[in-house]
């Protein structure tokens, strides 16, 4: 008995030594093997058998009747599990991060791998191994809990760390203005230069990424992929949202955006434009890459984690555009809204590969919808412009028939808008639903039609305004001034391409027509006085005619030197045509008048203006200097 007891003790001691020295099942096995060859009492059979009988899980009867092989493998499994339990419990009880020591980390992972292998071996279940499997499952659960914690801590430890620190001195172009970055918390993503979106943010250090991947691999293998993706999202989402907040982007509701004064909204849009590119070209692609690395070969968990991390920020940014799109349609908003439209549209090629999986593909639809809303807003703004022009009241006449502010405003507005001609083409075509892409140089494109229509509306409004001048001549001068300005602005801009030569020719013909009307209205009565139809009237009648001419001419001179023709060429043309009309008639008249008059001296007395005087005075018309009528 005593020796038997002693042998038991010996066997127990040997098992203990093997278990303590051997970190793995095979190592322990090897050690036992060595012992068994060393001493006959330490045969493998005895060691195994004894262990099995000692096993707390051994259901004595079942084990005894089991076939020898099964018993053997079960007991070896049991041994392994006990060993793993010991190993794992030691790690799980650690009061610090296992990953704070890389040797611990790899030992723990190895234990988890062994456990997974063991569970695999126990499956499909053989009779009698259910208790083993339960124990293994329980152990696995402990491992996974701990891995989840380690995984989370690795991310959180890194999130505050260095990889995002601004690489260059100087303030970031994307610094949010409201936020004061305090000391070590500075991690504003910086891109120098701004246009370079090939940047990747490494939110986590490469070592951390590979650690995380190792953990993720085990969690997925153990069927804990969902937990892993979830813990990733929860731990890392704050980082993404914080990054967006640091770009100066706040959560805004539609109502708030509606209520924001345009000047403030413009600033916000400027920030948004930068943020949009930063987020969709740098931040989110970096997130995609990060997820792909951590969960490499572990799809769909990469997609799941990526969608969970990026959804909110993506939606938040896109929604702001929606909110702006439904806002007020004042024409001055056009330029910013066009910027927004272009920014979203230009993202599309990047979004396709980014949001290609089932969990995030809706973001592509979302972006497409947002760009549609912005396009509708742009069309709405053009409609509003049209309305504003049409409704612009003819209150006070511009002194001297000069250029009206609305002409200047509309023409400069359209010229500026044409800087985005291709975009506007696209937006207008979208409305008409033309299937084929528009030929942008075709004057019949939707945008061209739209612009021509606005020009018509403007023309109509100017004609209404011209009616408030008492003199028809001044109305003509007003229309000529504005008409000429329109031509010039069209000619030296993209409007030229849109409206086409034909339109310009028609506009020029119009201006000529107003010129003719002006001549008729102002000068026909003057010419009529001078015209004697060959018949030489009496000296008295001739004198009377001259007196009337002088009165007319004085009055015209007095009034029309105060009128304005801003365009020098137009002014010169007008004067020449007036001179060509008046001077020959006057010269002719003076000749006949001198003949008819009794004495030349007498004649000179009534001739207030020499031919040269008349010419000189015509040359002073339209200077905007004289007294106004």
């Amino acid at each position: 008995m005593a020796s038997e007891n002693g042998e038991d003790k010996l066997l127990a001691a040997v098992r203990h030594i093997a278990k303590t020295l051997g970190r793995t099942e095979t190592m322990a096995d090897d050690i036992l093997q060595i012992f068994s060859t060393f001493d006959g009492r330490l045969s493998r059979e005895k060691l195994s058998e004894k262990q099995h009988d000692d096993g707390s899980l051994g259901d004595g009867g079942g084990g005894a009747v089991a076939a020898g092989d099964d018993r053997l493998s079960l007991s070896s499994m049991n041994r392994t599990l006990r060993y793993l339990d010991h190993q794992i419990s030691r790690f799980v009880a650690l009061d610090r991060l296992i990953w704070s020591d890389s040797a611990d980390a790899s030992a723990f992972l190895e234990a988890v791998d062994d456990l997974l292998d063991t569970i695999h071996d126990l499956d499909p279940p053989a009779p009698g191994n259910k208790p083993l499997l339960d124990r293994a499952d329980d152990l696995l659960q402990k491992c996974m809990l701990r891995l989840e914690d380690e995984f989370r801590s690795l991310i959180e430890r890194s999130d505050g760390g260095s990889p995002l620190d601004a690489p260059a001195a100087g303030s970031s172009p994307f610094d949010s203005d409201g936020e004061n970055s305090d000391g070590d918390d500075v991690q504003v993503p910086v891109a120098h230069p701004v246009k370079d979106y090939d940047l990747i943010i490494d939110a986590l250090a490469p070592g951390t990424v590979s650690d995380l991947h190792e953990i993720a691999r085990r969690m997925v293998a153990a069927g804990f992929g969902r937990e892993c993706a979830e813990v990733y999202a929860l731990a890392h989402r704050d980082f993404v949202e914080e990054s967006v907040a640091r770009l100066g982007i706040r959560h805004r509701t539609a109502e708030e955006v509606q209520g924001t004064p345009w000047a403030d909204l413009e600033d916000e849009i400027a920030r948004w434009l930068k943020a949009l590119n930063m987020v969709f070209r740098i931040l989110i692609p970096s997130e995609r890459r990060l997820c792909d690395r951590i969960f490499t070969g572990l799809s769909p968990f990469a997609d799941l984690a990526f969608a969970a991390v990026s959804r909110a920020s993506a939606i938040q940014l896109l929604f702001f555009a929606d909110a702006v799109a439904i806002g007020n349609r004042a024409p001055e908003r056009l330029f910013r809204v066009v910027d927004m439209y272009e920014a979203v549209r230009d993202l599309f090629p990047d979004l396709d590969p980014l949001f290609s999986d089932q969990y995030s593909t809706f973001l592509r639809t979302e972006a497409a919808t947002v760009s549609k809303s912005l396009a509708a807003a742009i069309r709405g703004i053009f409609m509003e412009l049209e309305n504003l022009i049409r409704r612009d009241p003819a209150r006070a006449a511009v002194p001297g028939g000069g250029l009206h502010p609305i002409t200047r405003y509309v023409m400069n507005y359209l010229r500026a808008a044409c800087a985005s001609r291709r975009t506007l083409e696209e937006v207008m075509e979208e409305d008409t639903g033309t299937a084929s892409p528009p030929d942008p140089d075709r004057p019949s494109s939707s945008l061209a039609v739209q612009i021509a229509w606005i020009m018509d509306v403007l023309q109509g409004n100017l004609e209404v305004k011209s009616k408030i001048y008492r003199e028809p001549s001044l109305s003509c001068i007003f229309l000529m001034n504005n008409g000429r300005y329109i031509i010039q602005k069209v000619r030296d801009s993209e409007l030229n391409v849109l409206l086409g030569e034909e339109w310009i020719r028609r506009q020029m013909a119009r201006v000529r027509r107003w010129g003719n009307e002006y001549q008729r209205a102002t000068w026909s009565k003057v010419i009529a006085v001078l015209r004697t139809d060959g018949a030489t009237g009496s000296a008295k009648a001739m004198r009377e005619r001259l007196r009337v001419f002088n009165a007319y001419f004085d009055e015209i001179y007095r009034a029309q030197t105060g009128w304005v023709v801003a365009d020098e060429q137009l002014k010169a043309e007008l004067r020449i045509s007036v001179s060509e009309l008046v001077l020959p008639a006057y010269r002719n008249f003076l000749g006949r008048y001198r003949n008819a008059a009794d004495s030349g001296k007498h004649a000179e007395k009534h001739t207030r203006y020499s031919e040269e005087d008349v010419e000189a005075r015509i040359g002073e018309l339209f200077e905007g200097t004289g007294k106004r009528s």
């Binding site: 009061d95 659960q141 937990e227 929860l234 509701t253 109502e255 909110a323 439904i326 309305n387």
Partner: protein, 394 residues
């Protein structure tokens, strides 16, 4: 008329809208509108009746097979809204000549303002749907852990499931105290102490949801704002607007009710159902709408629903299932008795059913909410276009 075909449709919807509108007008004015006045009256009358029918249908379907506030019922509610909105749009289109005349102009612009406010509700609801989706992820973990294919329910599996349930409970609790949880936002990242106990994450990591509305936003206040100054038109208003004051009031009420019911059903920031809702019984739709309103209020007052995140039937099921399962798990001893195991299996089965309902219903619901959003935007855009055009008789 398919009410939810917007998503994925590649045809520009402006043109679809136009063709539908012209079609409608042709039907309404077959003789080129010689009897325009009466036919418009008929149109307005038909709208009232149709709205009433739709809500009666909703009300009776909730009494019959479908449960009030179930996912499928909420989807039906949104379909109803979309149909009403579409018909209202036709009415506006047919009356575009007079939209800018007082006092109709004010009524219309009030309606559009309400629409903008409703957009924010739609966004909040989308977040809420996403939140339910987060919950679903945890339910799925429970289902994976306790999957029937496991021959036996071991301690490890039960513990895994139990943890998922705990996480879910925290998620569902947290949103009620959103404010306190959101304060964690500004904590320094990753500098929290590394705890060793498995519960150390409580209250720290569990912000289940990223709201895309601002933090101070309140659904209750938003509903209040939609309701502001909403009152039935007086006789002289009706007369001065060719009767259009009536459909404007009707559509505003439908908008308010639908937004209110969404807030009632779906989790969102600062839910509150106190919005006073009234409509004179003389409107044919008033009775069914008010009765639905009353039934939902009653539901919200039930003891087991009072503290809910949302009155959606599926949320209730989640709450009930998870609580029962959790209690069951806490009470079991290992090895499991057959009886207990069967009980757990039953709980899991029930959970699986809720999960399936969510899987089938959440995505379409979210698309519908998005659709509602876009219909409101579109109706507003078209309305503004009509008004600015009619300001300029050519």
């Amino acid at each position: 008329m398919p009410a939810t075909d917007y998503q994925g449709s590649s045809t520009p919807f402006a043109s679809i809208g136009r063709s539908i509108l012209s079609l409608r007008r042709d039907q309404l004015h077959p003789m080129d509108g010689h009897d325009g006045g009466t036919s418009q009256e008929q149109e307005l009358e038909a709208f009232q009746r149709h709205v009433a029918d739709l809500f009666l249908e909703l009300s009776s379907s909730a009494a019959g097979g479908e449960d009030l506030l179930s996912l499928s019922w909420v989807r039906k509610l949104l379909d109803t809204f979309l149909i009403c909105q579409e018909e209202f749009r036709v009415i506006l289109f047919d009356s575009k000549g007079i939209l800018s005349r007082a006092p109709l102009d004010r009524l219309i612009s009030d309606f559009f303002e309400r629409g903008v406010k409703a957009l924010d509700v739609c966004n909040a609801i989308r977040d809420g749907i996403d939140q339910i989706r987060q919950w679903k992820k945890h339910l799925e973990i429970v289902l994976v852990a306790l999957h029937p294919s496991h021959r036996t329910l071991g301690e490890g599996q039960l513990r895994r499931a139990r943890k998922a349930l705990t996480d879910l409970t925290i998620l569902m609790l947290d949103e009620k105290e959103a404010g306190s949880v959101l304060n964690h936002r500004n904590r320094s990242f990753g500098r929290g102490s590394h705890g060793k106990d498995t519960n150390h994450h409580q209250g720290r990591h569990f912000r289940s949801l990223s709201w895309s509305v601002s933090r101070s936003w309140s659904a209750a206040r938003q509903l209040q704002a939609i309701n502001n100054n909403l009152s039935a038109p007086r006789g002289n208003e009706i007369a001065a607007t060719n009767g259009l004051a009536v459909p404007v009031f009707t559509m505003s009420s439908v908008l308010l009710f639908v937004m209110w019911a969404l807030v009632a059903a779906i989790p969102c920031q600062d839910r509150g159902l106190g919005t006073h809702f009234s409509a004179p019984r003389s409107f044919p739709w008033a009775a069914p709408v008010l009765s639905l309103h009353e039934r939902i209020v009653e539901e919200s007052k039930k003891k087991d629903r009072k503290n809910s995140n949302g009155l959606l039937k599926e949320i209730h099921q989640i709450e009930r299932c998870t609580r029962q399962l959790a209690e069951l798990m806490d009470s079991v001893q290992f090895p499991l008795t057959e009886e207990k195991e069967a009980e757990v299996r039953r709980g899991v089965q029930e959970l699986a059913e809720v999960c399936d309902a969510l899987k089938e219903g959440l995505d379409p619901l979210e698309r519908q909410v998005r659709d509602v959003f876009h219909r409101i935007v579109r109706s507003r855009t078209e309305g503004l276009d009509s008004i600015s055009r009619s300001n300029n008789p050519e």
